[in-house]
Amino acid sequence: MVGQLLNVNNRQKVLHMARKMDKYEDIIENRRNDLINWNWSTRTLRTQVAVKIYPRPAPESHKLAVLHAPKIRELVDEISSKRNIKKEIIAKEVVEILEEIGYKKSLKVIRYLSYALTKIFLNISSGIFVNYQGISKIKSQMGNRPVIFVPSHRSYADFIIFSYVFFYYDIEIPAIAAGMDFHSMMGMGEMLRNTGAFFMRRTYNDDSLYWSIFKEYVYQLVCKGDLPIEFFIEGTRSRSNKSVTPKYGLINMILKAYFLSEVPDILFVPVSINYDRLLEENLFAFELLGIPKPKETTSAFFKSLSIIKQNYGNIFFHFGDPISTRDILEDKINRTKYSKGPTHIHEINEEEKRVIPILAYEIVRKQQSSTVISYFNLIALILNNHITRDQNTTSLHELCSEVRILRNVLRLWGAPIFERDIEETVLETLMVHKGLVTTDENQTIGLITNKITTGKLNADKLKAHALSENTISYSVPFITLQIYANPVLHYLVDGALVVIILRSVGEMAIDDLFKHFCFLRAIFSYEFVLLESWYKMQFESSLNNLLGQNIIICKNGQYNIYENKYFEEVLISSIQPFILSHYVITEMLLKTAAQVDEKTIFTNAQKLLEEAINEKKMFIHPYCMSLDSFGNCLGSLGKMKVIEKKQINGKNVFNINQQSIAKVKRDLEIYIPSFHVIKSFDIFLHIKSKL
């Protein structure tokens, strides 16, 4: 019985977390008062390495090791005899590829960069906050096994700032897995390489030589390297400012060393990053709509830097407790099978691939649940809620009191939020976001709309429907606002789902409630990343949370909506655009042929939503046109085996199980009545009428 497991312990744990949250320090604080800073950049470094090895391996040694690895040598022989090319020529190719991949270390570059970055940060940011206890805990555990830092990926700036944090704390800057697109930024690539970046091609073709070399290189870094390693498990920057489902490519390569017992353990350190203001905020909004990012070039990067002679507010890092691979996987797999034969002939098998998600999702979960929530995240959530109710502006006073309520509750629910004077901080953060939110002289606060101009868009390059310029410029501010509300959703989504269920279906016992919850949670398992094995835990703690705020009540074993109307609305409105987009996608899938390609689905969905929005009969949140959400929906439906993804001519094509999708749609419709609460029930009727 789920109910029996509910306990008060949970709430105590949450309280404990809330108290802890001020244990962050601003690492540029001292630089602000330091007139020179150069002395700091050139100070003597006593950096902590991941694995103490004598003598310390040089960057070149890893490349050499790959070149001489039996696996690569055998591959070279094979290609040479197959293609009838001299071995030396292939070997040369290997060397070239290794040069393209391999990291370097130049202390000089690191020092100069630290100096330049200090200047930049002092100009554009108010503070870089780091939970120093987390750092020192990791530092104390380093030295005897590979350590992998796994930050959430929110911006291009992530890994540069990340390296800066390491430099600050005297931790060896990791070997960082970066995409080749980064490298193509002229000059930047080599500079980053000199700080320890190694590069991975983005093309997923079957160039077996390249990928064998790359895998072997990573394997060498793990087995024989002394640097920590850093990679982004989400595989790409999250355009939505919330977690993306983990990708398994790199973690596979890293874990191989553990599976083959080449290392005793591997520590993964989940790190969450949150920006008061993202460098890429508008770009992301465009990308979510399907308007591709411009190619990364250094000049564009610097241009984007120059635009921002302004304040980007604070950046928050949270270093979570290291996760020991051994602790998680030790009894789930049997490593003994690799004890026979030369080590290099072994590749990890299906059994191991099946357990990797457990670890990968655990890392993402830890990232999510430690994300520091900024005051602007709260403001965005509040404004969004207002807008959903057709209330386009609010007063400073009202905003502050709502921030207070939200802050208190969210802290109880586990979110780290700094203790600050609310009004002061709200005003400060509104200044940072003055391009998105206005404050007029009467202290009326509202979203700035219709200020964005796009210029002519090349329709060929659009990923989905050719949205009108109008639509785009109308939508971008709303989408940007939602992007800033998104980091909070991790703390809200489970409660929101429970509320939606109870509001739509009416009172019910805990077991039924859990059944509904599981269905909805599965639908949103990509949008709000969560592994099924956690459903129960999350469900239970969200019930506790809701009961604690009088949002729901339990009488004689029956759960129902209770008296906290305000919070009920906040919860429902917070995930409304997501429900809408998921609903529309299921509708689209139901209406199309048994096999359909991704672009068609996306295009049709956007087209429909664009029309609905433009009619302006009522407010429909433009975020529901987000391709990211569409993709998430397809992802979770795929996982539920309602649809099946295939690659045909490089395109994603889906086979649709019509019966299952019809059922999903019917099930989703059950929850539509909840939208009465925020007067937007009509949205669905409206959209339905258009189908």
Partner: protein, 591 residues
Amino acid sequence: MTFPINVESAIPKHRHQLLKWNGWGYQDSKFVFKDNEVYFSGKRYPIGELKLPHFVGWVTNVLGIDALKEQTHQPPPTNLDYPPPNISDEIIKTLELLNLSHSLNVMDRVVRAHGHTLNDMFILKFGKFERIPDIVIWPECHDHVVEIVKLAEEYNLVIIPFGGGTAVSGAVECPIDERRPIISLDTSQMNRILWLNEENLVACCECGIIGQDLERTLNDLGYTTGHEPDSYEFSSLGGWVATRASGMKKNLYGNIEDLTVHIKMVTPKGVLEKGCQVPRLSCGPDFNHIIMGSEGSLGVITEVVIKIRPLPKCRKYGSIVFPDFEYGVKCMREVARQRCQPASIRLMDNDQFKFGVILKPESSYFGIMLDGIKQFYITKIKGFDSDRMCVMTLLLEGDPEEVKINEKKLYNIGSQFKGVPAGEKNGERGYMLTFVIAYIRDLGLQYNVVAESFETSVPWNKAVTLVRNVKHVVIEECTKAGIVCFVINSRVTQTYDSGCVIYFYLGFNYSNIQNPVEVHHHLEEKARDEIIACGGSVSHHHGVGKLRKKWYPETVSKVGVNLYLCAKKELDPKNIFATNNFVDSVPHSKL
């Protein structure tokens, strides 16, 4: 010489008259902690009666020993401590009729109820065995054994063969839930050398002969077996065969399986032996290999024809210091590749190197790991880090010429791996310590320290990672268990063509730990799991016994387990030899 030779054993029939009843070795030999100083008592070993100035500092620093916290051990057991023996008068009468020496005395039974695992020692000092033998019988020849086995068959009694009782696998312990009367068949009185053939260089010995007796007697005749397990002062020939023992000098003389030419084993179905005494045989599966390693579970080994060699003319020690363990292992590997191993070659890691130092009697002014000048040369001139360097010890035997050539070759190979010769004395001390180290555990148990060793064999390519991983796991698990003071160190103790043997010591201070033996057992289990995952084996020479059953099936395969069970069923259908080693449930046959 006249045969048979009745060897007078160094160890009396009632062993506890000379040996500790509750610890390792001779009563008069032990580490003594007095007036904040430690010395080793007695004159039997070279460090006897000498003060060990570095000892106290080390044990207080590393193991957190508190001189004031001395534990008192319980007095020897009396009849009140154990249930009366479950032996009928009828059986006693029969034994008397057969003229078989026996004892029902509780002390005789208790000292044969165990081997030398940590658990055994802890029970002797602080607890009580759940099951001890009901009677001890001392056969004096092969025929006696045949009689005893017959008797056991007839009355459905259990026999556990007992040699020197040095097993560290739980092999000699009585199965706790055995309800039938248990006989401890002590082979110590079967210790004659029946004959010796100088032409073939073999000697036929009874199984109970103890290593030191065998060697002493053979030495007097100008021979040696060259078989020298670290326990050879107390372990028996039959025990070696029954556990597949391995001696320190196996490179020159071979392991027990290379040394034995012919074996006789009494089983409930009769005597298993070969019809000829030849150097090698192609005649189907070699049943000697069912006897060897059978750990008392299939029958009693009564007589063994063992190879002997003329005593070497020259014996020389040596040592080489390496900057770190990996260089040392690489050197070991190269020596094995060139097959120029001397009688013994061992590589101690840094911690074991340092540990060896505490047993140095004299205090030296220039640092304690190496002798003054050498220390200076190696750390200052060669730049070795005293927290990472490790030492290889060598024992060379043979003709002086050969020894010289071999020695040169070894130092040459050493220098290819940054090795620096560190003198004969360091080597000699290393080997001398081998025999006294076993005494340290008793001192530890007096001051809240539990310790045990474990070993494994591993292919060369996995040796270094195995050592690293196992240490890591032990450290992690110690931390998890709340252990603050502990030691985990290792050495490469043997080399082969395709791999080597690693020997670990693990000990910790249990002042703050509830069930030290359980915790130690848990640590060892985790360590063994890691060993197996890293490509190591369940054991190179200690055997499986009861302690390492967990890993038996995956080591020999399911078919292998069944094959063993079939042999067991065929040779011993009533499960007379109910040692309960290897497999958990040897089905009891119904009577």
